[in-house]
Assembly symmetry: C2
Homo-oligomer: 333 residues x 2
């Protein structure tokens, strides 16, 4: 391996002088700079970032720990994070937990060892001990998507979105609206459920508990939730509210198999878009701003890293938007 000492020898200077050339620090005569740069080229020298980071106590790296990288929502968040980070000269280590607490914990441990400058993470349950482990080391941290007390949080208004969407369905005349919720251990799921319930309460309707069904944030879960629902519940729902986009896709596949037409036989709505359409975009949904979510969170984190911006925890709640397309219709009489 070529080290700074090899370059120094070749250029006939001290190692520290080479270091100064690399970092554009201090005074260097043009002549020396040229000799050093020539030596660097000839030897194909590149500085070892490990030793630099060790000395600088800075790795210029942040961790992004998300729950499901196969969900386009999260890849878009990732884009936002990457764009904000590369602007700030930071690189991003992307990790995926599959909503598993054990994976989250082992990633955090690994990344702490690696001296990551900051953490962007999606918490899985409400256990804050992991968060404390990061905070104790005074490493900047911003939590994504899900509320958690005592920490910076950037998330969307799930409760409000669910409320508005349910309100919309009620306005179309639906009274039996099924909620295919994600795991209720996850705060986002709970918020969406409570927005749904609040909208029902607004009209003085008492929620039918058999219409609320819980499963993973996955296609297969959406599929089997619908199957279970239509197996057990009578009369069947006239509208489905999916907890997220993947659940919606699975649910729609199940509806297709059941021979039900959207929106003629049943209305379907969800959270979050899907970028792959085979025909016309038609799902009515609550649109979050995943890119903004990632971008804002990363910006906030970078502020912390640079020690700019105040330190009192903030909760940034991004607005959501109702995107009405063609997957809903009034219920059949």
């Amino acid at each position: 391996m070529v080290t700074i000492r090899d370059v120094a020898k070749r250029a006939g200077v001290a190692p520290i002088t080479v270091s100064r050339v690399i970092n554009n620090a201090s005074y260097i005569s043009d002549e020396t700079r040229e000799r050093v740069e020539a030596a660097i080229k000839e030897l194909h020298y590149i500085p070892n970032a490990l030793s630099q980071s060790l000395r600088f106590k800075k790795t210029n790296t942040i961790a992004l720990i998300v729950s499901d990288i196969t969900n386009p929502f999260w890849t878009t968040v990732t884009r936002g994070v990457e764009d904000a980070s590369s602007e700030g000269g930071l690189s991003v280590i992307l990790c995926n937990t599959d909503e598993r607490q054990d994976k989250l914990e082992s990633y955090v441990k690994l990344l702490l060892q690696r001296q990551t400058d900051g953490f962007l993470l999606v918490p899985i349950n409400s256990d804050a001990s992991l968060i404390h482990r990061i905070q104790r080391r005074e490493i900047p941290l911003v939590v994504l998507d899900r509320p958690l007390p005592g920490v910076d949080v950037v998330r969307s208004d799930s409760e409000g979105g669910a409320h508005a969407m349910t309100h919309y369905l009620l306005g179309l005349g639906h009274r039996r609206i099924a909620m295919l919720t994600g795991p209720l251990t996850i705060a986002t799921s709970r918020q969406r459920l409570s927005g749904y319930q609040r909208a029902l309460n607004d009209l003085g309707l008492s929620p039918d508990e058999t219409l609320v069904i819980e499963g993973q944030f996955k296609q297969e879960a959406g599929y089997s939730m619908v199957k279970t629902l239509f197996d057990r519940v009578n009369p069947p729902p006239t509208a489905l509210f999916a907890g997220n986009n993947l659940i919606a896709v699975g649910a729609m596949r199940a509806l297709y198999e059941l021979g039900l037409n959207i929106p003629d036989d049943i209305s379907v709505v969800t959270f979050d878009d899907l970028p792959f359409f085979f025909g016309q975009p038609f799902l009515t949904l609550v649109a979050q701003s995943p890119y903004q979510l990632g971008w804002r969170a990363a910006k906030r984190l970078i502020d912390h890293i640079n020690d700019t911006g105040d330190r009192t925890p903030i909760e940034l709640v991004l607005p959501v938007e109702l995107t009405v397309r063609s997957s809903c219709a009034p219920p059949k009489p």
Copy 2:
């Protein structure tokens, strides 16, 4: 920051003894081990991976540089890589080039500085200088998806797949098959095109060059390629062969707008599946094995890192499979 010296002081031993406890190396009396472990817990000590890596000359990290992380094909490859890596105790740094050579180059430079133990990458053009830069440092490298001489390659049989698929369309009676190819600077695109041409030649048909149209591996490109095609070419094609799944999605949206029905008015085929279906899966396609691709490549890389397995470059070509569904029909008379 808590260092190994703090722990040593607390436990009343030398730093090196703490190091031995951490790494389970050499002899340690039970009593000392317990004292050290207690000190580690009390101080919440975690070893600094930077200094460990500097000393060990090993980071236990590999780089995975893909061309488009928003494409489900690549997220699945990533899964394969991660699974194989975590089995081997390695973590993966995921980078995304968007098919841009400049981004690829800056990532490689960054990752070389970070002392990554190995590289898995998707080359963009045929310029091998970047590859040489990695090889010169004797860092293990496996190239994904696209052939490149003198290096380990793991890829799919694009040419064979395109040939089989075109053969299938010809068998249905299609004679005007449009090819919506990806950028021809990318080897995969060229292979798919040449498989298509070979199938035409098999029947003694001379390819109509106006039916071959080139664009990015993106939805928007697929969309505009179809628009251009139907604007310019007469008579229009009876079948479309999309260069990849994203092109296919964009193309189908354009067909929808043109009021053309699949497969009644036009047949559509592509490479690679899309995991998000709103109804029944219906695209007939050439299925690669992205998970296998990632897994095999990572395994090979890990063998290199551990210096097992022979060093002569191999090219592993994974078979593809024709998945016939319902997006094709004989051409209208």
